[in-house]
């Protein structure tokens, strides 16, 4: 089960908002941190520079007490700022000694001292020696807790804003998606009303946004094709029922009549034989229908081999030889093509086509089979004298269609012959064609090229 489109969109909105807000937050955080640092340094600098003149002008050791007092006075009671004056001469120092190992380098630095957390920021400047006073280094250390607290509060707010913003974006996104998808819901409701009983109903693209109109058109196209297939199937089912009804009626009736009275062995045998003939006819119809169903399912010929089509046609002509002789007809095969076909299927189609030609042509007619190699397919056409009404041509390959109604019921032919030709063509990725003009009829099929 995948997420609904609304949820999916909501999640995507949330993710994009999160990414955007997070980037902005990181940038803001960075900016603030830099600004705070700048402020802190400015303060350290100011504090140091303010006191510098005092040190500069103090050149004697006995005046240093004044300097110490001054610095004492300037150090705030809360210990936020601490001053130190470092010198090689112990007379010119101020403040606590530095922790062991700490080197007070010139410029800005960090002083980690004892248990004071966080480490303090420092600024060290050297005041050049003058008179008794050697070079001294003045150090200002400032507690950075306020800065860090400010930064922490700010960060907390940012996290809250990112989180909240993401949630709001998700909710808004969900709502917007629902709103945007409303036409889909309408479409879905419409689609729900489509029923097999009302096959001609279609989705109405009129009141839909253009993005959905294309989808609706394709969907309606699919419905058109389904409707046609469905109607064909229904007609086919009716035909099948009809075709099976006659032999079944015969079988039931004949058996009932036979059993209603004592019969001799010969008579019983005769009836069994007759029943067997009807049953064989039923079997042939069922087998042919199963074959057609395979083609309908889109099954393709599996055992295709590359052959000379004309040679295969000659084989079928040889098979039909006796029938042709009886009808005083002859077959001429013209042209050739190499194609990948399943020989037994081609044979079956050719037999049916020749059978059709023999049935519909006059005695003594000349039948021509033309084999041609086209760009991407091979074309096999059976041409015989005789004409078929133009209106009958498109229906020629329909199942159980018999151009000549009087013929129905007679012989072995149960009206599936040309439908099978069509199925064979389809199984080879080809198609069928039929034409009738100037007293000549051409019926044939194509198979996809080698």
């Amino acid at each position: 089960m995948t997420l609904s489109i609304s949820r999916r969109l909501a999640v995507m909105f949330a993710i994009s908002s999160f990414v955007l807000l997070a980037l902005i937050s990181v940038a803001l955080h960075e900016l603030l941190e830099r600004d705070l640092l700048r402020h802190q340094r400015a303060e350290l600098n100011t504090r140091l520079e303010v006191n510098r003149p005092l040190i500069v002008k103090t050149v004697r050791a006995e005046d240093w007490t004044h300097v110490r007092n001054k610095f004492e006075a300037m150090t705030p009671a809360d210990g936020r700022i601490e001053y130190r004056i470092l010198s090689d001469d112990p007379r010119f120092t101020y403040g606590d000694p530095l922790p062991a190992g700490f080197v007070a380098a010139e410029g800005f630095g960090v002083l980690a001292e004892g248990d004071r957390e966080p480490p303090r920021k420092t600024l060290v400047r050297t005041v050049p020696g003058n008179g008794e006073r050697p070079d001294v280094r003045v150090m200002v250390a400032a507690d950075s807790t306020p800065f860090i607290e400010t930064l922490q509060v700010f960060t907390l707010w940012l996290v809250a804003l990112v989180g909240g913003g993401t949630i709001i974006a998700a909710l808004l996104g969900y709502y917007i998606a629902r709103l945007g998808l409303r036409p889909m819901q309408r479409l879905s409701l419409e689609a729900q009303s489509l029923m097999p009983e009302r096959l001609s109903t279609r989705l109405q693209p009129a009141h839909l946004p253009e993005e959905l109109a294309e989808f609706t058109d394709s969907f309606n196209g699919a419905l058109d094709r389904l409707e046609r297939a469905y109607q064909q199937l229904e007609a086919f089912n009716a035909d099948v029922a009809h075709e099976l009804r006659t032999p079944l009626t015969n079988l039931i009736g004949q058996t009932q009549v036979t059993l209603s009275r004592e019969r001799g062995v010969d008579e019983l045998k005769d009836i069994l034989y007759s029943n067997l003939e009807e049953l064989e006819r039923l079997r042939a119809i069922v087998n042919d229908m199963l074959f057609l169903a395979r083609a309908d399912r889109g099954e393709l010929a599996r055992h295709r081999v590359e052959v000379s089509v004309a040679k295969e046609v000659e084989r079928t002509v040889e098979f039909m030889e006796f029938l042709l002789e009886d009808a005083d007809m002859s077959v001429q095969v013209e042209g050739d093509a190499r194609a990948c076909i399943e020989p037994s299927l081609l044979g079956r189609a050719m037999t049916n086509l020749l059978q059709n030609a023999i049935e519909h042509a006059e005695r003594g007619a000349q039948i021509t089979v033309q084999v041609e190699s086209r760009a991407d397919h091979a074309r096999i056409a059976v041409r015989n004298p005789g004409s078929i009404p133009q209106e009958a041509l498109p229906r020629l390959f329909d199942r159980f269609y018999r151009g000549d109604r009087a013929r129905s019921g007679g012989g072995e032919n149960h009206g599936l012959g040309l439908a099978i030709v069509k199925a064979v063509a389809a199984m080879h990725g080809g198609a069928v064609f039929a034409a009738s003009d100037n007293g000549m009829t051409t019926i044939g099929f194509t198979v996809q090229g080698p």
């Binding site: 007759s274 039923l282 599996r302 299927l345 059978q355 149960h414 012959g417």
Partner: protein, 228 residues
């Protein structure tokens, strides 16, 4: 010849048993897949007829169970025409298959083929009553009179004579004589039989070539004149 029929449909199983028994087979019937497996593994059969749709264990399961230990020829009966069924059956070790509805004659023919009965006799001279066929010289005589047959007529006669006394369906004849392995509506075989009959039976008192309505044709000597 011992044959095992694994089939749950009672009518089918019964007529197969009766028909094959009359054809001279010793027939056992199993009504479900498990019983079928048990019998197939327990006893030695010359051939097994195995339905695909079976209770307890279906035909494919039964097939693979038997194939783990035995190479008894198996012919499968499928009701569906699905290619998958056929391909699967053959891939998993079945020797042949028939799609329902099938004709009994067809089944008998396939069983003969599988058990190699009526095969292998490389006789060059065949005799059916007063009919004499020389397969090498491709000539035939009846009552010592030379029969004037075309090549196809001779092939048809030879096919019938090789399996004389046995009913050959039109499909089988089409396959044996013309190498045609598909169903066809064309009544080529009837016409060919009519021609052959005119030549081998026409001028003689007792017919040898008989039509069995709804089934096919048989070449044999009959005591009384058979039905036409």
């Amino acid at each position: 010849m011992k044959v095992l029929i694994v089939e749950d449909e009672p009518k089918t199983a019964d007529y197969l048993q009766r028909g094959l028994t009359e054809q001279g087979y010793t027939v056992d019937v199993a009504r479900d897949g498990l019983d079928g497996q048990h019998r197939a593994l327990e006893y030695d059969y010359d051939v097994i007829v195995l339905d695909v749709m079976l209770p307890k264990a279906d035909g494919f399961a039964t097939l693979s169970a038997v194939r783990t230990r035995k190479q008894t020829p198996i012919i499968m009966l499928t009701a569906r025409d699905g290619v998958d069924d056929r391909v699967r059956g053959l891939r998993e070790g079945a020797d042949d298959y028939l799609v329902k509805p099938f004709s009994f004659l067809e089944l008998v023919a396939r069983l003969h083929a599988l058990t190699r009965r009526n095969r292998g006799q490389d006789a060059t001279q065949l005799y059916v009553g007063d009919l004499h066929i020389d397969l090498m010289a491709r000539k035939a005589w009846r009552d010592n009179r030379r029969l004037d047959l075309t090549a196809k007529e001779f092939a048809l006669l030879a096919a019938l004579a090789r399996r004389h006394g046995e009913i050959l369906s039109k499909t089988t004849i089409a396959e044996l004589v013309w190498g045609v392995d598909f169903d066809s509506d064309a009544n080529v075989v009837e016409v060919a039989i009519k021609r052959l009959r005119a030549k081998i039976d026409g001028p003689f008192a007792t017919p040898l070539l008989h039509t069995i309505r709804g089934m096919g044709y048989v070449l044999e000597v009959r005591e009384s004149s058979g039905r036409a």
